[in-house]
């Protein structure tokens, strides 16, 4: 099981603990794990796309270079179906319109990142189980949608965007 898959399973486990009186700590960690499951899913995919397996350490170091902020901005740009991502350099060819799966992935990623920030830092916020289960489901749907989308012609553009979006738009 990959780290991303372990985090996804952990988020589901934590969200279902204490059926009638869930603790804020477990619910918040569930949200955080759901986001990081998706973060590591894509950071591993990006690194695999742009970096060879060897020499040792290169791919892991590449994976470590991804930033939340760039991924957030790239995700926002892929969030509307049927259109070319806003601000995508015109010399990059898309294989077709952005699919419904890819827009759902992008929207879900952005939502999870915002919720993760609240879960980890906003002590004024109170999470309840249904919202956390909905967020865990969002993460699970992203994994499922990515299985469909990753063989598409637009998948390499999306993955590269997660790493280079801000450099491309300097």
């Amino acid at each position: 099981m990959s780290l991303a898959e372990e985090l996804l399973a952990q988020s589901r486990f934590l969200a279902n603990l204490d059926p009638h009186n869930p603790t804020q700590a477990n619910l918040r960690r569930a949200v955080s794990s759901a986001y990081y499951a998706v973060f590591h899913l894509f950071s591993a995919e990006v690194a695999a796309q742009i970096s060879p397996v060897g020499p040792s350490g290169l791919r892991v170091r590449t994976q470590r270079a991804l930033t939340h902020n760039t991924m957030y901005k790239a995700a926002e740009s892929f969030s509307q179906a049927g259109v070319r991502p806003r601000n995508l350099a015109t010399d990059i060819t898309m294989s077709g319109p952005i699919s419904a799966e890819l827009t759902d992935i992008a929207k879900g990623f952005k939502q999870l990142q915002d919720e993760r920030h609240a879960a980890d830092y906003d002590v004024s916020r109170s999470f309840d189980r249904i919202e956390v289960l909905a967020l865990v489901q969002t993460a699970e749907d992203i994994f499922s949608d990515w299985n469909t989308e990753k063989i598409s012609g637009n998948a390499p553009v999306f993955l590269a965007s997660l790493m280079f979006w801000q450099l491309w738009n300097k």
């Binding site: 009638h20 957030y72 509307q80 939502q111 915002d114 609240a118 109170s126 249904i130 919202e131 289960l133």
Partner: protein, 158 residues
């Protein structure tokens, strides 16, 4: 969404260029062309009127009005059916964690300690459809769509 209207209505609070203070829309005069018309405004707390102000000059006090209009339109036009356990919603305009302008739409649902996976999937389909519709409006704030149990409100109130 052909009949989704963002036209002003009487009672809304606005400011307008060239005039100090907050006004209430007193009367509306549509021109017959979509989005065009004039309004008579009453300065809050006074009997002072500004008459015949073009709609394009109105700045709405409630930043969340386009979201509220859209959600009320959705309720009336079942393009995205509201699940029967959705009982209320609230809208907030603020920045997200990256400091970018956002709308936070939170739907409140009936409490359920052990919602079924099917219910959660259906709920997510609903939230996703609402967000897709709001994104299609090309607003200047990103629409985050969230859910909470109704009792959270009661907890806060108590």
């Amino acid at each position: 969404m052909a009949n989704l209207s963002f036209d002003p209505v009487a009672g809304e609070k606005v400011t307008t260029r060239g005039h100090t203070g907050l006004f209430t829309i007193d009367s509306i005069y549509p021109s017959g062309h979509p989005g065009l018309g004039t309004a008579d405004l009453k300065l809050v707390g006074t009997e002072h009127y500004e008459r015949g102000v073009p709609w394009s000059m109105l700045n709405f006090w409630d930043e969340t009005r386009p979201i509220r209009r859209a959600i009320e339109w959705l309720r009336a036009n079942p393009v995205v059916p509201f699940p029967n356990y959705v009982v209320d919603y609230q809208v907030e305009a603020r920045d997200d964690h990256q400091g970018n302008p956002a709308f936070y739409v939170r739907f409140f649902v009936e409490p359920d300690d052990q919602p079924s996976p099917e219910k959660i999937k259906g709920l997510n389909r609903f939230l996703g459809s609402v967000q897709t519709m709001l994104l299609s409006l090309n607003l200047d704030r990103w629409p985050y769509v969230q859910v909470s149990e109704k009792r959270s409100l009661l907890d806060v109130a108590s």
